[in-house]
Structure formats: C-alpha cells, structure tokens
Subunit: 456 residues, 2 copies
C-alpha cells in the first residue's frame, strides 16, 4: 500500500478521539505518556537480555528479583519490598538429547525435558517407540506399551480460533501423559510440542506425576521431528528412540514476590493489584511468558504516576515468584492478603503475551461484566480492546478471587502467535513488538484507572 | 502461562461457535477449510521466495504473472486470463550508497532511493546538509537551502493508534519533499524513513516531481542513521553528505492484471471482485505488501470452491499489475469494466498486511454500513473482525467505486507492525504468521459469501 489519501479518515479519527469527556481525556493522557515516554520495551530488553531465562530457584531468579526492585523504584513506586515464598527447584542439568534410530541410522531430534520430569540416568534410555494419538488409543493398546517409549502425537487443533483453547485441549498429554503411560509399563514419554508453530523448536512446560506409578522421564519434541518419528513408524517396524535427560529436583528454596506500591489517597488500605510473573522456563528469555506481563505491570504504575494521577486506592504491582511450576507466587500473595485481612478491590494480570490487545477476561458475574462492558468498552476501543469476557483471570491473581472473593481479570492479547513462542527457545525479545507491548500497558493502565475511580 | 484450566470457557466457546444458523455454519465451514487445508501460506512462500520482489516492468513481474495464473488454476478458478495494462518502469540500478562526512571522518548510511527518483549521476553528489523538521521550517529557512542536501527529519507520530494515520501524516515528505526543496535550490533530499520500527532498515516508496522545479534525487534513510545525522548536525558545523543513486526511468511497458473467475450460478454477468496487488517494491520480497493480499484473494476462491459453495454472482480474483507506483492496475480494471458495461456488485481488497484481522473499511453510506455491521459483525466476531468503518477501501478497488459507483472495501488487519516492514528490505516471508494470514482469508471469504447472498 502506498497511497496518500486518508485525509477524511484522519479528521473523523481526531473527532472521535478527543471527545470532551474526562475519562477519555485521562486515558488519552495515559496513552500519550506510554507511546511517547514508555519504558516497557527497554525494561523488557534488560530483563530478557541481561537476566535471561529465570526458572525458580536459579541464580537468574535472584537476579530478576534485583532487577524488578530497581525497575519498580525507577518507575516511581513509593514502597518496594519482597514477600518470601517457597518455590520449587527443578533443574534441567546438562542439555538433553534424543535420537531416532532406524536400523543402523541415527538422527538427532529437537527435544526439551518437561518441567518436573525425572532424568534418564547418565546412560540414557534406548527403547522401541510406540505412537499414541490419544488417551483412548493408549487404553486400547495398553498391552503393547511395556518396555517402550510412548510417543504422544496429539496435534494442536488449528480449528480453535483462540489458540488458548487449542492449548487447553492438547496440554493434558504434557501434563499427565507420563504417569498414564507408566501405568502400562512405558519407560519414558515423548510428547509432541503443544504449539501451532511452523518451526521445529521443542516447547517445554510443567508436567506432574501421580503417586501410583513409577516416575518416568518426559520430553517434548519439535513438530518437524514429531512428524519424522510418525513417518518412520509408518515405514519401518524397527524404530527405536534414544533419550538422555539430566534433569533432577532439589528441595524447595526461598524466592520472592517483588512488590511496588503507589499509595491510595482515599483508601490507602484497600488494594488494587496488577502483575505478571517473574519466573520463566529456562531454555529462552521468557519474553512473552511473562517478561511482557512484568513490564506491563511496572509501566501501569509508571504511567499513572508520570501523568500525576493520584489513585484513591493503593495500587500494588506484584511480580509473582512462581507461576510456571507450581503457582506458588500467587498462592502466597493471596494467603498473606488473607492473613493480614487486607481489603482487595481488584487483581489484574498480564500473562498471555505482549501482543496487540483485544480484550480482558474477568472473573465476575455476567451481569456486572456486561455493565462495565457497556460503560468502559467505548473508552478502550480506540486502543484496541473491544470485548470483556468472563470465565478466567490470570493464574497469579485467581487465588485472590478464590481466597478473598476479589474480582480478578487478565489482559487478552491477540492469541495467534503466542504458542509459536511459549516455553520454547524462541521466546525471545526479538519476537516482541514495541507498539503491541505498549498498547497492552495502555489498556491495563486505563482499566486500573476506571476500577480505581468507579469500583467494580 | 502454564495453567491447565479453561474447561468452562471451552464449553462456552463451543456453545457460541456452533449456533445453529445457516450463515454461521457456512462461515465455520470456510474457516475449517482454510485452517485445515489452507494454501495461502505455502502460496506466499512460493511468491516471496521463488519470485521475490516484483517491481513493475521487471523480469520478476512477468514471473509473478506466471505464478499467479498457475496458483489461480490450482485454486480452482474456472477461467484464468490476463488483462493488459501499461505500467511504469523505474529502475533502481546498482545499489545506492550514502555517507555522512564530518571533517575527514566518513560513515555509511542505510539508504534506499525513493521510487520514481532520478539518480545522481555516476560521481554522486557531495554537499552540506540542512536538517528540516517540517515544510513550515523549509519555508522559514528557504534562503539557506541552495546547494544543500535537505534532510527531512519529520518523525512518525507514535500517538496515532492506527498506524496508517501516522503514515498518512508523514508520507507527504516522501511524496512531495523533493520538488519543494528543489524550488529553493536543494541538490538532493534525504527523507527519514516513514516507519515506527526499532531498526535501521530504510523504507522506500513512491515520490513524484512537479513540473516547475528541477528533478533532484530523493532517498530514504533508516531511523538510526537519521538520528545519527541529526546528532552530527547538533554537534558540528561542517557536516556533509555524499549520496550516489543509479536510478533511472524507462518508457512504460506492458504488464497485466491477472484474473481468475468462479462463475455465478444466478447472475453470471454480475461481478464481485476480490484482490491484492501483484507488484511490490524491489528491495525485499513484498510479503506483507502485498503478497499476503494476493494469496488472501486466491484463498477466498479456493476455499469457497473447496466447500462446494456455488456463488450467485461471478467471483473474480484480480491480482492487480501496479499499485505501488502509479496505481495503473486498478484504474485499468475499472476502465475495462466500464467500457464493457459490466455490472459490479462489490470490490474487496487486502492491502494492509497479513496481520490478525480487526475489521473492514467500506466506501458505503454510513447507514448501509451500520445496517450490515449489525447483521454481519456477530457472524465475523468469532474470527476476529469486530468493526466496519467507512471512509476508504483498497487503492486498487477504489477506481471501481469512482468510475462505476461499486461499493468497495478493504480488510483492516491490526496495523501495529505494518510499517515496521512496509517498503523495506525486511518485508519478507519470515515476518508473516500463518495463522494471522489465514484469519484474514477466512474473514474475506465470509464477507464475500455474505455479499453474494444478501447483496449490499
């Protein structure tokens, strides 16, 4: 497109933008502040490039906590402190490896050990492989599993338009597939990566064991290599896989939720929390998951302060210690809030990537959600948010809802690219767009302003 | 984000998705077809990687025409033909170069000659440089321009949320800056690239000369280097720039609009056109501009045919010969339609990138647009399109509106990333996401279906 028209539209645009309305003017001020002087993108650069991947219990976790305190102070938080929180300490160890063995031919496979998985021991495991498309098929073939590596090849369903539904549909093979296969004597599992990408990056993520069955190693494999295994099994009877994983788990250690506050002018002891989680999986930079959520939350505080907004309620930025592995950060925060009998007005999180925003999802009655939708969507629509849905909120703020009944919500960015990067070595700064990131912060700050002013 | 919840949402989602309504079912069928069997992404791969940049008059233009005919036949077009169209033939020549000269220090600058610009001659031009922030400033400093290179440093305004408005605001310096500077004796112009990117790629695009002033060379410079020049001018009095451009223009040549049809069952002589433009600037692959539009249009035809839909009106995919340079493709198509007294129901284009869709912009009465918005948005919203705006349509289908009064429209994808790539060497296949591309095609095919069924 090269045309130079647009004059008419430009006029229309300004006309609607500058409607003389206090709320829309204030939101425009927030937007201008973030678009002109925003620090979310440079903060993300530091977090991803200077700290890097920051799995709980790692040296990078502590480095990230240092960074977060500094960033919150620079953003203008009046009070910055740490909240102790036990966190798991799962360690990948030396890089895992896997090979597809057909007769005397060997080919490397792109794999990542799943979080919480046991390792294979130093010799690795070599075993025949059986392809399983679903848990139903596992049950049908239970007699054939013993001594084998189960390869779950369940595919990310492209028909879900919101990709999180595709994720929710497929992730059970990652989460519970190992124990279900171990029940029938499998020696390890390989899981097709939970992604709709077009590349071969493997995608890790949390898995868990039940107590009834042996703990066997579980690894994710990239899509091209998953197809390669499936293809080999169709053509050959004698297909084996070698895997070696050096993963192990140590005792829990102490991590911290990092908290920064902007004191409320009318109700300083009533809290609005806004956050992201500081931890990430280790093989990449944790850019979209959830570096963007952290810098979103910091930017909300920075922008509100920078435009001279004095919140009625205390605004708390909370960078949660552990979401990925056991969700300890959000649980600890809600437990402490409950123990201190704090009054929490609202909890908002960004943990679905730094992509262009489309909406917010609330845990709120449908009636209330409809009410605020009618009033607030017209204010947010110029910035890309056009719908409020209900049903879930950010995993770190949901405990506030469960334990204290606090209304909670999560930013809903466009989901098309999220699972291209999620939990893979490709979740890096370069895949975050500055403008998209800033639009997320604008809409979050606007929502916080509206909740602070009008309640929920 | 790692949590495994979503069960409730998943149910709600399916509930709304599969509302028992003929239109929503048919659109769901279109979506499934495109998401499961889509060829837009692989077509784009061929066009960008095997054909590449395809400026009018170039060998690649003819290669692109060959590709387009083949792709249309493979998509199921019943009739594929070429429509002759005169196109400009501007040639960049050997790679341009530029240097910032401060005293005896020289630094290379990332530049691209603007489309239609004259070259500098083989020796290049070395001259003092003057920084101009706006046309107002040019007028104020008109006495200081003579013998200098004018460096227009007008910045892409980040406050526009829809980036096309930022483009429209800044592009006048690219389009008309050379002649305005030549009027006061400038020997060349450098224009800050019309982009909100975070990199240093220069962005080309069309410029034009008036007849009253000498034709001087015009080049775009990358953002980092633009800032570097500005910085040098602040610190030094003796700043020169060397530019060398080998551009020249030959006489027009013959290109073609490539057309493929699906015959209407009730009104075969009434047409619905859907298109993109086949030409692109030369320094990259023309992925988002406008490879994605071409493969969108082809995919609309393919998907409608694949699901067994028999359109009432003839659906014509038109891949326009020239949009970038002089807009000859769209003009020729409308002229021919008028000359043949064809009845055109609707013209739709995709020429704003292959990003996640948000809406359509129509040239249509506000009343009519509101009517169809009320009826059709609920059908498209599950696929990401939530608003119909009015005011403009695709540059290639606007002539249909101007000459025949045909309602016209353009897909409005999310605009945040478009000008990162637009007209730069970075507009490559790798920056297109498969899912986002497919969602565009889904919404376009759905709109074509609705217009075919209900009219406009």
């Amino acid at each position: 497109m090269t045309r130079l028209l647009f004059t008419t539209c430009s006029i229309l645009f300004f006309g609607s933008l500058f409607a003389q309305n206090e709320d829309s003017l204030l939101i425009r001020k927030i937007a201008d502040e973030i678009l002109m002087n925003g620090t979310a993108y440079s903060n993300l650069h530091t977090l991803t490039k200077k700290v890097g991947g920051r799995i709980t219990g790692s040296p990078q976790m502590y480095k990230a906590e240092e960074w977060a305190q500094k960033a919150l102070k620079e953003a203008g938080a009046e009070k910055v402190y740490l909240q102790e929180c036990n966190v798991p300490r799962w360690i990948r160890g030396a890089k895992e490896e896997a090979k597809l063995i057909i007769g005397n031919k060997e080919e490397s496979l792109a794999v990542l050990t799943l979080g919480n998985s046991v390792g294979t021991g130093s010799k690795g495991i070599t075993a025949p492989v059986i392809l399983i498309n679903s848990f139903d098929e596992l049950e049908q073939k239970k007699e054939e599993i013993k001594g084998k590596i189960v390869f779950y090849n369940y595919k990310f369903n492209p028909k879900f338009i919101q990709t999180f539904f595709g994720y929710a549909d497929a992730v059970r093979y990652r989460g519970g597939g190992a124990s279900r296969a171990a029940k029938y004597g499998a020696v390890a599992v390989l899981v097709r990566s939970i992604t709709n990408s077009t590349d071969n990056y493997p995608h890790t993520g949390a898995m868990g064991y039940d107590n009834a069955n042996p703990k066997i190693p579980a690894l994710a494999v990239g899509l091209w290599d998953a197809d390669k295994i499936a293809d080999a099994l169709q053509k050959n009877n004698n297909v084996k896989i070698f895997i070696k994983s050096n993963a192990y788990t140590l005792a829990d250690t102490v991590g911290h939720n990092v908290i920064g506050e902007l004191a409320g002018t009318e109700f300083p002891d009533q809290y609005i929390s806004v956050g992201g989680h500081l931890d990430s999986w280790d093989p990449a930079e944790g850019a979209h998951d959830d570096g963007t959520g952290c810098v979103h939350a910091i930017e909300v505080l920075r922008a509100l302060k920078a435009i001279g907004y004095h919140p009625k309620h205390t605004i708390r930025v909370v960078l949660f210690a552990d979401e990925e592995n056991r969700g300890d950060g959000g649980t600890k925060y809600a437990e402490q809030a409950k123990a201190k009998n704090e009054k929490h007005i609202f909890g908002l999180e960004s943990d679905a990537g730094g992509f262009t925003p489309r909406g917010f999802s609330f845990i709120l009655s449908k009636q209330k959600a409809e009410d605020i939708s009618n009033k607030w969507i017209p204010l947010l629509k110029p910035y890309g948010v056009y719908e409020f849905t209900t049903g879930f909120a950010g995993a770190d703020v949901e405990p506030l809802n469960v334990m204290l009944g606090t209304p909670a919500a999560e930013l809903n960015p466009d989901s098309q690219r999220y699972f291209d990067y999620h939990h893979s070595p490709n979740d890096v700064f370069e895949n975050v767009n500055k403008r998209e990131l800033e639009l997320g912060a604008i809409n979050m700050a606007a929502l916080i302003y509206l909740v602070d002013k009008y309640g929920l």
